[in-house]
């Protein structure tokens, strides 16, 4: 055997040694995708997580825990919050406007008094 053939052979042997046993079976399994048996095992593992007395716990929790708010309740809460915000904003706006008007009026009154005093001055 030529030295290069021998080298090729040992390269192939080295490469082949990297494959673990059952390589062909694994390739076929990977190519075909998960089998129904795998899915069944997956479901079985899930089912095995439920502790005994599951139904009784669900029924008692359903009675005990208050229900989640309905869409209508959530909508009502949103509308209520929005109305409260608008009323608050309007109130604050009108109140600050009122204070500003009072302040302006007082300034004008003071100016008027100064003018009047100036008019009455000899």
């Amino acid at each position: 055997m030529k030295p290069e053939d021998k080298a090729w052979q040992s390269l192939q042997q080295h490469a082949a040694a990297q494959l673990r046993s059952g390589f062909a079976a694994r390739v076929v399994r990977a190519a075909n995708g998960p089998t129904d048996a795998s899915w069944q095992s997956l479901r079985a593992v899930g089912a095995a997580q439920l502790r005994p007395g599951f139904a009784a716990r669900v029924l008692s929790a359903a009675r005990r825990i208050p229900g989640a708010p309905s869409l209508l309740d959530q909508l009502g809460l949103c509308v209520g919050t929005a109305v409260l915000c608008i009323v608050g904003t309007l109130f604050f706006h009108s109140r600050s406007l009122e204070i500003e008007n009072e302040r302006n009026l007082a300034t004008w009154q003071r100016i008027a008094m100064v003018v009047q005093d100036a008019d009455n001055a000899p």
Partner: protein, 179 residues
């Protein structure tokens, strides 16, 4: 035979709708394992299974009187389960954004022994790489839901479901590598 069992189921649902506790209990017992399996496929976390399954069944009991067609109970229940899981995954994602270093939000690996085979582990890993919507699609198919039922659940057409399912299967296959 199948029509007899579906009639019996519709009858059971009607009794549960009227508030009969034994019927509600029977419904939970009949579906708890399937719902738990679905939740596990959706979340990949065994510590979420009990809590999320409980949430699904509590929602079921509270919303049962709004179910118009008792014969469609199964697809309605799995729609509830899908929405509950997707809500949970969304909340988890949001929490991860706001509390990136919160210990409880880390992706905790399954405890040893929880996963018993390399194929199962590969399936869990592949599912975790998919979008929750695609995971739900595959899990619903595995639960025996028809394309029409899934289309109704997702509010889309059967053709769209088939296309999405095809893509989801392709993605799953890409990531499925049994070690």
């Amino acid at each position: 035979m199948e029509s007899t069992s579906s009639t019996a189921l519709a009858d059971l649902v009607r009794r549960a709708q009227q508030g009969e506790e034994s019927a509600q209990r029977e419904l939970i017992v009949s579906y708890q394992h399937r719902v738990a399996g679905f939740v596990y496929a959706m979340t990949g976390r065994s510590d979420y299974v009990e809590d999320l399954s409980q949430q699904v069944f509590i929602k079921m009991i509270r919303a049962l009187d709004r179910l118009q067609a008792p014969a469609q109970f199964e697809s309605w229940l799995f729609r509830l389960a899908r929405n509950t899981c997707i809500d949970q995954l969304r909340r988890q994602k949001l929490r991860r954004i706001f509390l990136p270093f919160g210990e409880e939000h880390e992706n905790i690996p399954e405890p040893p022994g929880a996963v018993d085979s390399e194929e199962l582990d590969a399936l869990r890993h592949a599912l975790a790489q998919l979008r929750p919507q695609d995971r739900a699609l595959l899990a619903l198919v595995q639960e025996g839901r028809s394309h029409a039922e899934i289309a109704e659940t997702l509010g889309t057409s059967v053709a769209a479901v088939k296309a999405r399912l095809h893509r989801a299967r392709e993605h799953l296959r890409e990531h499925y590598t049994p070690i």
